[in-house]
Every structure is written in structure tokens, then in C-alpha cells.
Symmetry: C2
Subunit: 500 residues, 2 copies
Amino acid sequence: MHKPYQMNVINMGIDTHQEPVAYMRDDCHICRAEGFSASSRVCIQYEGEKITATLNVVDISKMPVGSIGLSHIAWMRLGVNANDNVTVTHASVVDSVGFVRKKINGGTLTESEITEIITDVCAHRYTDIEIAGFLSACAGNRLKLSEIVALTRAMVNCGQHLSWPEQTRIYDKHCIGGLPGNRTTPVVVAIVSAAGLVIPKTSSRAITSPAGTADTMSTFTNVDLTLADMKRVVSATGACLAWGGAVNLSPADDLLIRVERALNLDAEGQLVASVLSKKIAAGSTDILIDIPMGPTAKVCNRADAVRLADLFKQVGNALDVRVRCVITDGSCPIGQGIGPVEEARDVLAVLQVIPEAPRDLRDRALQLASNLLDMAADQGMESANKEATRILDTGTAFKQFQRIVEAQGVVKTLPDAGYKEAVYASANGVINAIDSRRLARLAKLAGAPEDVVAGIRLYKNVGSRVEAGDAVFTLLAASPGALEYALAFYQDNADMFDIV
Amino acid sequence: MHKPYQMNVINMGIDTHQEPVAYMRDDCHICRAEGFSASSRVCIQYEGEKITATLNVVDISKMPVGSIGLSHIAWMRLGVNANDNVTVTHASVVDSVGFVRKKINGGTLTESEITEIITDVCAHRYTDIEIAGFLSACAGNRLKLSEIVALTRAMVNCGQHLSWPEQTRIYDKHCIGGLPGNRTTPVVVAIVSAAGLVIPKTSSRAITSPAGTADTMSTFTNVDLTLADMKRVVSATGACLAWGGAVNLSPADDLLIRVERALNLDAEGQLVASVLSKKIAAGSTDILIDIPMGPTAKVCNRADAVRLADLFKQVGNALDVRVRCVITDGSCPIGQGIGPVEEARDVLAVLQVIPEAPRDLRDRALQLASNLLDMAADQGMESANKEATRILDTGTAFKQFQRIVEAQGVVKTLPDAGYKEAVYASANGVINAIDSRRLARLAKLAGAPEDVVAGIRLYKNVGSRVEAGDAVFTLLAASPGALEYALAFYQDNADMFDIV
């Protein structure tokens, strides 16, 4: 066809998250000729690379003639340097968006249609609007089992894979939906790997919460492991506790989940595919799913919890992995620490079996570890629980945890927060409920997880009796400003503790 | 709560279409303290005004400390001047997005839930992602009749209204989906208003097509009428032919339709609500809907056309307006001109009853005008058709058209295109089909609708016999570059004419 247009690239220094944006002058010849307008989709090519970007039209005063501006993600994906020449054309129609419309219109998608959608999503050919259309069409339990299986498989196939010696059973655990402080993973991994199970655990950093397992682990050691690092650590210790973001196990999930979160959708099928795709890509054969159930948890009632558990098992079955689900108490925070370092202190206390260790965190970790041991040896839960308890109480789990930390390359000492303030009860009573969401927000306003020392140490939990003047919690921060800011929020939200 | 943050505004000069975007430095104290990150939603306040914007985080080198950048639409809605001080906080949760989730999850929405959604959309509180979720959930015939009625009513209630003397019947017509060149509206309005019907017609400018009725009318006269202008013109002539964008009849529709178009959704319920809400807000009591049916038209088969017609009638009934639908031939372009001025020439030829006037455009206009006359007098279609033909053939319709044009304030002469090139058939045969979409694209590449003279004059249509060397069409443009550009596109797409 007519010859493509050449333009000079400019780095706009704008973070548009996952969606690449290009900026072009409103008097630009190419805009006119190609019929580009704000929100058009343009195709930008540079040497071997090719991306699709959303166009934002810019006043002539803001950009030199013949130039095209790129947002961060567009700049990175294209791999350009300032003033490189790129070609700009209309983005071609993405055929698989037709399958999205089919699903929106109530159709059932075939495996190959789902594969094409996920391939295009991974190639960054979808706009946020198109991803939102796909997710909305799949929510409301509209995905059939065959579609969830196909979606999981497609998500596995578009990312990196971990492979392990044949015949090795590879264990994993996952918790659906966060309770503040519920940092069981390091304890569970230490116990079951001490018992000989292979568990190459990858975890996320916090996105909306005050800490993820990767944030907490990063206060102990290095968590940015490559696939090769993970293999080395696992072959030395049987386990690792790494950040999943350094390996690219389910790139489709990373792209979908941001839009899903923006819509605040809790789509079962999407959730199952998201969780299982990452585990299967990591080579897992035996997966334990922890489903906390409670009024402010992701799953509110037993019927939903049971249906979700069934779905996990059926999809796992279709994809040749063993899945066990445990429905746990999700009605209140677990442990005393909230925030990366404070949760690390709880983990350490449980592993070191010190008397002050939070009992609820210990019990939850033992429950999950026992289930994994029982999946491995089919010895019955009573025997499995005895074994897990013995491994923890004899210090074997702690030694194993230290070996993992050392194998990951760095041994860190937990730092102290520079700024603290205790908060006291103003009346007598019993804590009837704690609003987990506002509690998490409080820890975030204090600086967690970016400031690893920031967060909350909780002295009272649901069911605790308090007298006026009792310390309810201590707020921790890395700067006086952040501490003050969080305290001001608390003063307006003291009813997050419902004391009756 | 803690005191809100003050920042200096900077106009970024970036057109982000309908979605307001704010730009803040990545080291900004407020970003840190509030937990803002790329794609967060922020609330910006200036004096009485308050908007919600999506945040893009910007490198420190691109923005002074203490400043916040705004995109065009954010700048305009807030009504700020450079360096004004605004306050920036977290955007509060939009409650009605919960109803969107309810719909996504398969629920049925009440009238008050739909009203709340549309009110929030109109107040620009929805992100594109949330609008996409709403539209996807409503597509696939998932809207019940009660929901479509509620949606239509909510869309009417959030915009401006036109009111007319009581007892006056107010007529309108609307065509679903565009065929290139199908510019019947000016002819229909002239005929029926000459017969005494009141028809205050508002039309759109082209968004994806080479011309809208407003583009064509703007080559004859002024179309940017305010509500007061419209009332004056209608009271003088019984009709007007105005641009709908100058009046704000269904602001919700303008916001929804852009996302709908990006998803390329053809959701029946949404379509019915969109069309009827604008007509009802304009005070119409009698509405004629033209549903072209054909392989490349919006409606492809009779069953869909009939179902859509029924839906229009039922919703109209629930909202106390009379709706008649006619299913017309949508299999090929209508008339010879494509592009604002070329379509105006066809309109003029039909109104002036010159022998060369395109027969198909004349017939279609008479069919629609007859239906409107029959709705008014219930005289039977044969008598109505005779009346319409008489009004056209006696020049009464043309005189009425001239009165309307004069009443709108300006009488323009149609300009000529500076650059033309005829395109000839290279073989003998019969035109079996014309790809309407590529034909429209060709006219747009030549510069339509921005260059009003640009477009196509078509000498052959579906069914025409052509000999090698016959002129098939002439391409018209305002600049040699645009002409060359469009010709190059045609050379690669000559098969848009299927000659057998």
C-alpha cells in the first residue's frame, strides 16, 4: 500500500501503566491523512518490534513537527532511544475481539477462540476497554467448565515454564483473598520442605494490601530470583520463597488482573484460571488452596466456598494436577503484625516457637502444612498434623527456613521503625468486629509496603476484652509525616474497631 | 479528615477524549501519602467544580514540584486557568458501580439503580473500563424490557429538553446504521414540513462515516443552532435541520456511545435507548425508524429487523410516544455522492426534480416521507405516497427547504473540489456487490468530512453493467496529497467493487 510514515520518537516520561499511549500533534499530516483522532489505535514499528498504542492528540505547542511521543510502557516495549525513527500506521483490526463479542452476546467459546484471545492480550493488542468487555462477559458464572479449562491452558501456554525432574511431585499453596497479617506461607514452606516435599514457591508483592508474601520475605533475604536461581535454591533446599514478578509465569494474568481489579470483579472462572495457570506454569502437580470465609472476606458463605472449591478441583482434574481446598476462618485478622517487617516478626516468632508467637498464625500454618503432608503421604490428617507440629516444635522448620534464606543469597536483619505511636481504647468492652479493609488502609497510609518498617502491631483481636486505656495497637512509620497522616485518618475512623 | 492537598495546575495540552487524565510527578509527596499510583482515580476540586480523573504518573524532569498537569477535557470541565490552585484527594468510591457488577453477575436492575448509574456516568464519575463493563453486561439481549424503558427514561432525564405547545404532535425520523450516500433526511424534512408536520430535526456529524446529515446540511447553511434558535426556526417554518451536538439532549448517550463503538458492540437495548432518549428529550411524539437490512448493513436478516422493530415499538409505547418502523433495502449505497458536498448535490437534485437526480435516493425519501404523512393523517399509504410525490414534484418541497435554510441564518453555495480524478473499469462485467465499508474509507482518506468537498461521485451501483474503460467513480479532494493518498489506497483495494 502507500508508504508508511516515519516519525522521530520522544520519551514523554508518562506512566500509563500497562496500556501504551502515543502522543501526536493535532496538525500532524499523518493524523489527517490516516484519519487518526484522540483514542484511535496506532501501530508503531521499530526494527523488529511492533506495538499497538492508544493515540492522544497533543497541542502543536507541546511537540516538535514530525515527532511522536511515547509513554513509558510504549517506550520500553519498542526498545527505542531518543530520536530513533519509527513507522506509524493504523492498527489492524484484532480478529479475536470478535470472539469477545460472541461471548458478550451469550455464546460459548471454543478452545481455539480462547487461545486466540489470550495470545492477543499477551501481545498487548487489546485496549483496556476490550479487556473489560472480555472480563465482564466471563463474570457472573458465565464461563462453562470447558471454557475455564481452555482459559487456564491458554494462560499457561503464553508464559514461561518451570520444569522439574520427571516423577517429582511439586507442591504449592495459594490463599484466596487476603486477611491482614495472614502470613502463613513462609512457615508452611519451611515445615513441608523440611519433611521432604519440593515446594518452589513464588509469591506476589502487595498490590492493594499493606504487604504481600514477597514483601515480607524481602525483609529476610533476596527474593528477585531468576528461573535459574529458583532451580538452584530448590535443588539445594527443596524449596524457595521468591517473588513471582521476576519470572514471567502467566503474563496474560498480569494484564487481565489489573482491569479486573479496576472493575472490582470477583469472577470465579477467572480466579480459578488465574491461580491454576501460574501454578501449572511453575510445574506444580499438587496444589493446596486456602479459602478463607468470613463477612469481609472474598468468600462470604459456605455455599460459595464449596462451589469455588469444586470448580478448582474440576479444572485441576482436567489439567492433570491434584488440587485440595480447605475452607478456613476468614472472620478476623491473623497474627499481630501488619506490614512487611511486622509480619516478618510474627513469622519468625512462630518458627522460633517463642511463647509470645501469635497462636492463630501458628495454628493456621500447621493446618495448611498438615494438609500438604497428607496430600503427599496420604497418612491421614491426625498423623500429618502430628508430623507438622513436631517439625515446627523441634526447630527443624526454623533451621530449614534459615537454609532457604541463605540459599537465596542474603541474610538480612529486620530493621526497626523510627516512628511509633500507641493507640489506646477509650472505653471498656469487647471487640465485636474489626473492619479489615480500613485496618489495611491505615497500615498503607503509614507507608506500608514501600516503607517496609511501616504498619501496625495489633494487641487486641476480635473477641478481646478491652478496658479504657489499654493499648489496642501501635502504629509504625518511617517518617513523622506519614505517622501523623495515618493517625489523622485513624482519628476519623476509630469505629473500624467495633467495641460493644 | 486530614487537610486536602493544594497543587498548581498546568495545561498539558493533551486530548484524552472524554476521559479526564491528571499528571503528577512520581516523587510527589501526595502520591506517596495518598497511595496514588498510575491508573489511580483522583478527585480534583476548584472552587465549585469537582472532577474525577485517571492519574498518569510522570517523571520528575517533566513537571515542576507542587504541580498537577491536566488533559484538555479535565482542564475544560474544571474551568481553571494556568497556575490556579486545586485540591487533590482520593476519588470516593462510586456506589452505582456495584449495580454494574450486579448486572455483570446476571441480576436485573431496578429503575432507581439504572437512574443512579446514568447519573454517575453523566457526572463523569465512570472510567472507560467501568463503562465497558456496563455495556458488555447489557449487550447480548440481556436487558429486559423494563430495563430498556428505565435506561431510556434515565437518559432523557439527565439532559436538556425541548418543549413545544401542548397538543402539538412533533415528528422525527431516524435511520439505524449508515449506508454510504443515504442522505434522505433533508428531503424528508422538506416534504413533511411542507405538508404541515412539525419536525425539529437534529442530526449528528460523521463519527466513523464520510458524512453525517449535519455535515451535509452545514454546506447549505448554519447548523449550530441553540435551543432558542431551533424554536425560532421551527416556529417560522415548522422544521429545522440542526446539528444535535450544539444542544445537549442526551449527554449520557454521548459518553456511552464512544465506548460502545470502541467495542464495536451492537447492543439492541442500548441502541433503542440511545435513539429514543434523544427523540423524547427533543419533545417528539411520533417517531419513524428506518431499519436498512442487508449483508453489510447493521441488521443482516429479517428476523433481527423484526425483533428490533418490535423493541422500538414496545419501549416507545411504555414512554408514551408513537413509533413506526420501516425495514428498507440496505444492500447497496444510495445516491451518487459520498462526502458532505457530494451528498448535498444529490439532495439538491432530488429537491429540484432534475432528470439526473438519483432515483434510488428520491424513492427512499418518498417512502419515508409517506410513512410520516400516514402516521399524521392515517390516510393509507397509497394516498400518503401520492401527497408526498405531489409536494416534491411541484417544487413545494424545494421551496420549503429554501425557507428552512434561510431561517437558519446563512445561505451557502456548494463549493467545488480543487482536485479530481476519474477511476475507470479495467474489465467488462456486472457489479455484483460493493464493499460499503471500504468505499466509505476511501472517501475519508480523500479528506471527508473535514474537507467538505472531498469524497466520491459514483457512476455505477450494484447491478450496473460496466465495460472496460467506463468511469466507475470520480475521487474528489481538497489537496493533491490527499487525492494521491486515497488513490494509492484504491489501487490496493480495487476489489471493493466485485465485478463478475
